[in-house]
């Protein structure tokens, strides 16, 4: 299964950096599902949960003031704040 690199960066630190298979996020224009080889895209995200699927697990992170940048096999999410449930 192909993967892409996801980095979630806040002003305080890089909170996530790993290979993922699928990302589900709420863009300002609607929900976005991102698979590897997605076309390059930049969009702000609505505040709320982002689902990250990896080969063996799935997790949800809540973001505020985020925006998403997609390059061929690399996705970067910049957020003002990120919270992980149960962490």
């Amino acid at each position: 299964m192909s993967t892409m690199r996801l980095d979630i960066v806040t002003p305080d630190a890089t909170v996530f950096s790993d290979e993922v298979t699928f990302i589900l996020a709420k863009g300002v224009e609607g929900d976005l599902g991102i698979l590897p080889q997605h076309m390059p895209l930049v969009t702000p995200l609505k505040d709320g949960p982002v689902t990250i699927k990896q080969e063996d697990r799935e997790q949800v992170v809540h973001l505020r003031g985020a925006f998403l940048e997609v390059r061929k096999d690399r996705v970067t999410i910049l957020a003002e704040a990120a919270e992980w449930p149960g962490r």
């Binding site: 224009e29 702000p44 925006f67 003002e80």
Partner: protein, 285 residues
Amino acid sequence: MKGTREIKRRIRSVKNTQQITKTMKMVAVAKLRRAQERAQAARPYAEKIREVIASIARGTKGVRHPMLVARPVQRTGYVVITADRGLAGAYNANVIRATLKRIRERHASEKEYAIIAVGRKGRDFFKKRGYPVVAEIVGVSDFPTFADIEQIAKTAVQMYADGSVDELVLIYNEFVNPVVQRPVEKVLLPLTDVGEAAAGVSYEYEPSPEAVLEVLLPRYAETLIYSGLLEAKASEHAARMTAMGNATDNAAEMIERLTLMYNRARQASITQEIAEIVAGANALQ
């Protein structure tokens, strides 16, 4: 010559002070290291935003945004970052002096500028002297998070956006290395130079390049204020480290001098005593 008892008391007092300055120095060393790490950790975020802005500015022709264009300056906003506490050498004085100098050079009346004060020392100084302080924040932690200063950063950027200032300047102590910090003035807004974009990526923007810029530009300016603050904090600890190191050395020197003085006084009094005893014994014969 002073009595031996006074000198002894003096030595004890200087020793106490030395202990305090020595501890403060060691605390500053530890904090400096952490502050530097924090400044390092904030870098990727600012860098990434800059990259995207640069690629929008480059990739899409004719994109205009008020934050990217210089306009005639009628009023300037100064974000002045000082420390909450003193005992850091010339740290606070340098920033305040740089600010005053710029204000004197550029502005004829109080209507032409506004001060946004970060840190107690700067706020107290400007408020006491009646400078126009429009926003302030004090009690920022030694290792601030973005959330700590978000409010003031947003206020500052908003002032530019709604036209109440036409230029936003950040004044703080730049961290050159642990022994050199110098006050710098950085123009935050308008962003006239966003640098080079990483080549070879042409993005799709949703909903539109302009809308993305609308979100990113204020964010970027806030981030610049935040990284300025982190750097200023690192400078503060470095300045305190140097100042307290010097104070400790001076105390050591002083103790040495006082000890010499004490021994001389002690010897003199012993000599005198012997002379008196001998004189007394001679008188009896």
